[in-house]
Symmetry: C2
Subunit: 194 residues, 2 copies
């Protein structure tokens, strides 16, 4: 990439971070180009779709969560690891407002720039879920897509001003549904101590 192009790319990404933080994932692309003092075509050249821009904004976080999940799988009890990952994945979705619908839509669109990130999250969660199920700590009638859906639903709640205050509490409620008897009890205890 030419030096001037690289500079524009970095600048756009930095401005996009600010604008998307303020206005959410459906922020005006025109606005981003304007604030970066760059032609609208330059934005489209570097980020041909809204998804590709968000992919660039989220990539680091997705990689970090993936790496974290490896650590969780090695060092924590399966039910603890599963819930910790769930919290992390919800937090990732809440990095920017409105990202959850985009990420969810990408799950069945291999052409989407967010597809790989999506699948990475889906598969990471699936593995932690499968381990917890193998140990009898998570209910057997949910699969990786169910887990993805629950994460998305909880993240969506956080984006709704009227419901955001309850989102964290409901994460606990849903977690307890995900885990089986003893494990659910333990999470409940943890939560009531907090």
């Amino acid at each position: 990439m030419r030096a001037d192009a690289r500079k524009n790319y970095e600048l756009l990404l930095s401005v996009a971070h600010d604008v998307v933080t303020e206005h959410g994932a459906d922020a005006s692309l025109r606005d981003i180009a304007r604030k970066a003092e760059v032609g609208l075509g330059t934005l489209y050249r570097h980020f041909p779709t809204r998804e590709s821009l968000l992919e660039a904004l989220l990539r680091e976080d997705v990689d970090a969560l993936t790496a974290e999940s490896v650590r969780l799988e090695e060092s924590r009890a399966s039910e603890e690891a599963l819930i910790a990952w769930l919290r992390g994945c919800v937090a990732l979705n809440n990095e920017y407002r409105g990202v959850t619908s985009l990420l969810t839509a990408a799950l069945e669109d291999p052409e989407s720039a967010l597809y790989n990130s999506c699948v990475a999250l889906h598969d990471t969660g699936s593995r932690l879920l499968a381990r917890a199920q193998a140990e009898g700590m998570a209910r057997a009638d949910v699969d990786g897509t169910d887990l993805f859906a629950l994460v998305a639903a909880l993240a969506w709640l956080h984006d709704q001003p009227a419901l955001a205050p309850r989102a964290d509490h409901l994460l606990g409620v849903v977690s307890s549904a995900l885990l089986t008897g003893e494990a659910a009890y333990a999470v409940g205890q943890e939560r009531s101590r907090a």
Copy 2:
């Protein structure tokens, strides 16, 4: 209301029903006016906001669900009534795509045309929840807003093409989290017989 105005009102509502069914709650208002062969200002005169249009589209359903809840409260066991209402409320939210975010946003905006419908649903659910809790059939650490949030989250899942196939199953998972020991077991049995 003058006869010609009434005719336009009914026509707009009928066209809006079709267009919103096809394109969801964020359908183009221009498109609705165009298809009704009516000036754009006429649409705005009858429905000053998008919310007021959706309110008119949903009113009957909200009333029906409210009436149904009275019957449920009188004739069914508290845990059964709660879950039946939850299913009904999710179904109402899924009448048109994208209605859930509007309904949720209205919950804390008394100026919204959807505010009354929203509060009606919230309070109806709260009453059924309180009864189930009083009988020890529902967990005590959720309130009416939590219930509303769970309904909204489940309805939102139904709007996501990638997750819609799991929405009904997850309704069962969430229901089991809502109910306490014996009641949750009963719902589980019901579901595995289905």
